[in-house]
Amino acid sequence: MASISTREIRTTLFVIVTVIVFVFILFPPFVLLLTSIKREVDALSFPPKWIFRPTGSNYVEIFQTSPFLRYLLNSLIVASTNTLASVGLGSLAAYGFARFKFKGSDNLAFWILSTRMMPPVASIIPVYIIMKTLRILDTPWCLVIIYLTINLPFAVWMMKGFFEDIPREIEESALLDACSEFKVFRKIALPLAAPGLAATAILSFIFSWNEFLFALILTGTRAVTVPVGIIGYMKESGILWGYMTAGGTLALIPVIILTIFSQRHLVKGLTFGALK
């Protein structure tokens, strides 16, 4: 009996620690949400007010007095266009790597992975000069293109794993029926890898949505995305906490929804397919 009770104590202890850990994780985003529905007087009071009249005015005002809608649209355009391109090109290459073994194919695949590791700071100066020469600075296009450096290698590695999971026999029979390799890819492999494709697309979208450094340097006024727009609420005269927290909360909503949808593949995605 004694051993059972120590086990019970231990389990209780584990549960308590777990609760503390999750409170620690969830508390900071909760503060963001809380501040976003406070009036300025309540937000700036110390000690922080736990009971107050919630207001939606911050959420209304960022759309009325700042171009937050345009930031959202820009982010949406950049992230979705980039995701289409990354997943399109990436799954082609991934299929190539998964199905055609050739001399140096492993090295080439790892080279592609290593391009993702390069620091954005290292390429940002040339990229700025190139985009300026091409006259596409401060347009969504320059971000669509440059986010391929993040998402294309990612898509290749994710999709490579999913294609490798498809049994080859299915494709072999189609090949024997004299379908071209490309047709086999399009009609058989791609539909079979559809869940993986969706997860890859979702994660690519989130990575584009979250990116800040390139967007900060390459956009100025017209193509400003949400993170850069939110930074604009830090004025010389002071921080517009209401706008910042409301904008931050709005920007996080799609991220959290998409994360929940793709959670089965997240570990794989964030470790470049090294772990499932």
Partner: protein
């Protein structure tokens, strides 16, 4: 009989009569080219070309503001960085402190959380898994904003908790002593749950037999952890550490929002120092040289990561 391997039409074709060998090779490989070449081409254009562009820039002295033409300085920028620039040394120290203060702590805390969750039961884990990954998926810039809110000396939650404990308020990100630890805490908050998630996945993939064996042999909980679980988990730990190490070198958003590298240079890691040289001081050549030092460091880590992934143990286990 064809064995269990795909036979492609292209492999069966031979060089046509009178066709150069290389052209024949390309024609037979056209499918492969169709699949892989677009990606390789795009990456050459948007990753490799800019990198070599910046390598070229690093041999010049070019300040955009002074509107002077580029002047060739050879390895001058590099020798200045390595032998004369005291700020570089400060920044290097800050970088090392930052890495040492975040990655090992994230690993230890993540391991503890993973071990506890592993004991608690599958049902609970499944519902908590999403929460564990949320800080890592959140927009890093907004993570910075959240922590700036928490650290705010006048109305922030942290000083509120200090006041509840009758402690003096702290100017978290504004004082030399606490600025770097403040950024580190935000980083630890952002990434520890993710490390825990990875390690939890690793723990759950450990086969039952060795654990049973250890129990039968009368090993204590600690001995089982030390001699059975950790060795089996080591490839996963290595991947987690390498990925985190690379990301830590590239930390930008958090520092941008929380401290802008200050006070003084207390939080100015190499990545941020490079950014400031390029886009605050407009020393483009100098910043390029700095960034190439970063490229070299990150390349070394990514080669080690590549080798780890390739070594049979992990890469095979991952699939």
């Amino acid at each position: 009989m064809v064995p269990l391997a795909l036979v492609y039409h292209s492999d069966l074709e031979k060089n046509r009569v009178g066709e150069p060998v290389f052209i024949g090779f390309l024609r037979r490989r056209r499918t492969l080219l169709l699949f892989i070449a677009p990606t390789v081409g795009v990456l050459l254009a948007i990753v490799i070309f800019p990198l070599f562009f910046s390598l070229a820039l690093s041999f010049f002295d070019w300040n955009v503001i002074q509107a002077e033409p580029w002047s060739w300085v050879g390895l001058g920028n590099y020798s200045t960085i390595l032998f004369q620039d005291p700020y570089f040394r400060t920044s290097l120290t800050v970088t090392v402190l930052y890495l040492l203060g975040t990655v090992p702590l994230q690993l230890v805390l993540g391991l503890i959380v993973a071990l506890i969750l592993n004991r608690i039961g599958q049902k609970i884990i499944n519902s908590l898994r999403t929460i564990l990954v949320i800080p890592a998926m959140m927009t890093p810039l907004i993570v910075g904003i959240i922590w700036r809110l928490m650290y705010n000396p006048d109305m922030g939650m942290l000083n509120y908790f200090l006041s509840l404990l009758h402690l003096h308020p702290i100017i978290w990100t504004g004082m030399p002593a606490t600025a770097l630890p403040s950024v580190m805490i935000a980083d630890i908050w952002e990434w520890t749950p993710f490390i825990a998630l990875i390690l939890l996945a690793g723990l759950q993939a450990i086969p039952v037999e060795p654990l049973e064996g250890a129990r039968v042999d009368g090993a204590s909980g600690w001995q089982t952890l030390r001699f059975v679980v950790l060795p089996l988990l080591s490839p996963v730990i290595l991947v987690a550490v390498l990925i985190r190490l690379m990301d830590s070198f590239k930390t930008f958003d958090l520092i941008f929002v929380l401290t802008q590298g200050g006070p003084g240079m207390r939080t100015e890691i190499l990545n941020y120092y490079t950014y400031r040289n390029g886009f605050k001081f407009f020393h483009m050549g100098y910043a390029s040289a700095l960034s190439w030092l970063l490229v070299i460091i990150l390349n070394v880590i990514s080669m080690i990561l590549g080798r780890t992934l390739r070594s049979r143990g992990l890469y095979a286990a991952g699939r």
